[in-house]
C-alpha cells in the first residue's frame, strides 16, 4: 500500500520541528519513550485536521502540554518497572553516573510535581515563555500559571533539600 503523501509531508514537518516537541514531551513525562507516546497522542488529534490547520506546530505544542497537564500518563505507572529493567538495573553503571544523576536531580524531581505545575514550570523555565504566553498554551489565566509555577518551584526546592527549614515547617504544619 502506498504511503499517504500527506503523511510524508507531516513526517517532513516533524523531522524539522519535532525535536523541540519531543524534548518538551520528555520533560513532561520523564522518559523518551513516554515522550514519544505523548507526541503520538497529540499527532492522533492532529491527523483529522492536517493539512488544513494553519499552525500545526502550535496545535501540537498546545495539545502536548494540555494532555500532560491533564495527567495523560496516569495509567502508565507500570513503566517505572520496565524502565528500571531496561536501563538502570541492567546497563553498565560507569563511575560518572552519580554525577549525571545529581546533575539531573531537579528534572527527576519534576516528575513528582502535579502535572499542571510541571507543565507550567517547563513552559516558563525551559521554553522561557512569559506567564501570558504560557497561559495561552495551557488555556488558562496568567495568574493560574503564576500560582502553579510558584507552588511547583517551592515544592521542587523542598524535594531537592535546598530549603530544609521550609520542609520542616511544612511537616510540622501537616502533622497538626
Amino acid at each position: 500500500m502506498a504511503a499517504d503523501p500527506r503523511d510524508a509531508e507531516l513526517e517532513r514537518f516533524l523531522a524539522e520541528r519535532g525535536g523541540h516537541l519531543l524534548r518538551a514531551a520528555m520533560l513532561l513525562t520523564g522518559s523518551r519513550e513516554a515522550g514519544e507516546d505523548l507526541v503520538q497522542a497529540a499527532l492522533e488529534r492532529l491527523l483529522p485536521r492536517w493539512p488544513t490547520i494553519e499552525d500545526p506546530e502550535g496545535y501540537l505544542h498546545r495539545t502536548i502540554y494540555n494532555l500532560a497537564a491533564d495527567g495523560w500518563r496516569r495509567r502508565f505507572r507500570w513503566r517505572a518497572r520496565a524502565a528500571l529493567l531496561g536501563s538502570g538495573a541492567l546497563s553498565s553503571a560507569p563511575d560518572g553516573s552519580a554525577q549525571v544523576e545529581q546533575r539531573d536531580e531537579l528534572v527527576r524531581l519534576l516528575l513528582r510535581l502535579p502535572p499542571a505545575q510541571r507543565a507550567a514550570i517547563v513552559l516558563r523555565y525551559w521554553e522561557d515563555l512569559s506567564e501570558a504566553e504560557a497561559a495561552d498554551v495551557l488555556g488558562c489565566s496568567a495568574s493560574t500559571v503564576r500560582s502553579a509555577t510558584s507552588r511547583g518551584l517551592r515544592r521542587l526546592r523542598e524535594l531537592s533539600g535546598a530549603e530544609p527549614a521550609v520542609v520542616a515547617a511544612d511537616q510540622r504544619g501537616t502533622a497538626q
Binding site: 492532529l46 528534572v107 525551559w126 521542587l156
Partner: protein, 293 residues
C-alpha cells in the same frame, strides 16, 4: 521566594536532560494506526452497547429467560480476536507475572519474533535473563545471562523459517515458556476465541480499567498418570473495553501437572526505546561461557 540561582540550575538541568535528542521518526504512521484502532473500537463499543439494548428489549418483549450476555459474547470475542491479531504485528506485549517471578517483552516485527524474559528470585532479585529471537529466515538465537554466576552464553542455529503456530482447541492453556513468541501467545488467545471456549462473565476492575471478563472452563487429560478422569482447566481473559486487548490473563487447573499463572499485560508502541527493552544487555564484568549441550 525562589532565587534565580535555583531557577538557573533548573534551566540548565532541563537543557542538559534534553540535549541531543533527535526529532521523532515514524510517529505519523503509528499515530494513524492508533487513531484507526481507536475509531474502530469506539464504533465497536457503540455497537456492543446497541446490541445489549436490542437483546434486552428482545428478552423483555418475549418474556424469556434468555441470557442477554450471550448475544454480546460473540461480538466482544470477534473484536478481541481482531485487536489481538493486529497487536501481534503492531505492538510489543509486556507481561508481568503476578507472582513476581517473571517479566516478558514479546514482539513480532517485520524481521521476525523477539522475546526477552527477566527471571526474579522469590525475594525479588534479578536472577537471570533470556533473550530469544527468530528471524523470518529461520535464524534462531538464544542469549542467557545468569546473575548468580555472573556468566552468559549465546547460541545460534539456522533452522527452517518459522511456521505459524497451529494450536488445537485442547491446547488453549496459556502456557508461556522461555521461548514463547508473541506469535505463540497471540495464536493461543485467538485459538481460544475461535474455539468458542470463552464465555462473557461481566466486568471486573484490572489496574483501574473496568475490564470485560471472559472465562473458559475445560476438562482435559493433561497427564495420563495424574489426570485419568480429566482435570478442570480454567482460563480467564480480562479485556480493555476501549481497545479490546487483553490486560490480564490467568490459568488455573486442578491438575498437579499444570501450575497456573496470572499475567498482567501492557501493549507498548514499538518506539525505539520500547524495542530496546527486547534486547538482553550483558552487564560489564560478566564472563561468557560455552552454551550447555
Amino acid at each position: 521566594m525562589i532565587g534565580t540561582e535555583f531557577t538557573d540550575r533548573l534551566r540548565e538541568e532541563m537543557r542538559h536532560a534534553t540535549a541531543g535528542v533527535p526529532a521523532p521518526a515514524g510517529l505519523v504512521r503509528r499515530a494513524r494506526r492508533g487513531r484507526r484502532r481507536r475509531i474502530v473500537t469506539r464504533v465497536g463499543a457503540a455497537c456492543a452497547a446497541a446490541a445489549v439494548a436490542v437483546a434486552g428489549a428482545a428478552v423483555a418483549s418475549q418474556g424469556t429467560s434468555r441470557d442477554p450476555g450471550a448475544y454480546t459474547t460473540a461480538f466482544v470475542v470477534r473484536h478481541v480476536e481482531s485487536a489481538v491479531a493486529a497487536a501481534g504485528t503492531d505492538e510489543i506485549a509486556y507481561l508481568h507475572a503476578a507472582n513476581g517471578l517473571r517479566d516478558l517483552w514479546l514482539y513480532g516485527g517485520p524481521q521476525g519474533q523477539s522475546a526477552r524474559t527477566a527471571l526474579f528470585s522469590p525475594a525479588g532479585q534479578l536472577a537471570g535473563e533470556v533473550g530469544y529471537t527468530v528471524t523470518t529466515a529461520g535464524l534462531d538465537t538464544t542469549t542467557v545471562v545468569s546473575f548468580a554466576t555472573k556468566t552468559w552464553w549465546q547460541r545460534s542455529y539456522q533452522g527452517s523459517p518459522p511456521q505459524a503456530p497451529k494450536p488445537s482447541c485442547d491446547s488453549f492453556l496459556g502456557i508461556i515458556s522461555l521461548n514463547s513468541s508473541l506469535a505463540d501467545v497471540v495464536a493461543d488467545i485467538r485459538q481460544g476465541l475461535a474455539c468458542g471456549a470463552l464465555k462473557d462473565e461481566g466486568t471486573q476492575y484490572v489496574d483501574g480499567i473496568n475490564a470485560l471478563k471472559l472465562v473458559s472452563v475445560q476438562t482435559l487429560r493433561l497427564s495420563p498418570d495424574t489426570d485419568a478422569a480429566g482435570a478442570t482447566v480454567t482460563r480467564t481473559l480480562w479485556v480493555d473495553p476501549a481497545t479490546y486487548l487483553p490486560v490480564r490473563m490467568a490459568t488455573t487447573s486442578t491438575s498437579p501437572s499444570l501450575v497456573g499463572t496470572t499475567w498482567d499485560i501492557k501493549w507498548l508502541p514499538p518506539t525505539s526505546a520500547n524495542l530496546a527493552l527486547l534486547t538482553v544487555t550483558i552487564p560489564p564484568g560478566f564472563t561468557r561461557v560455552a552454551p550447555p549441550h
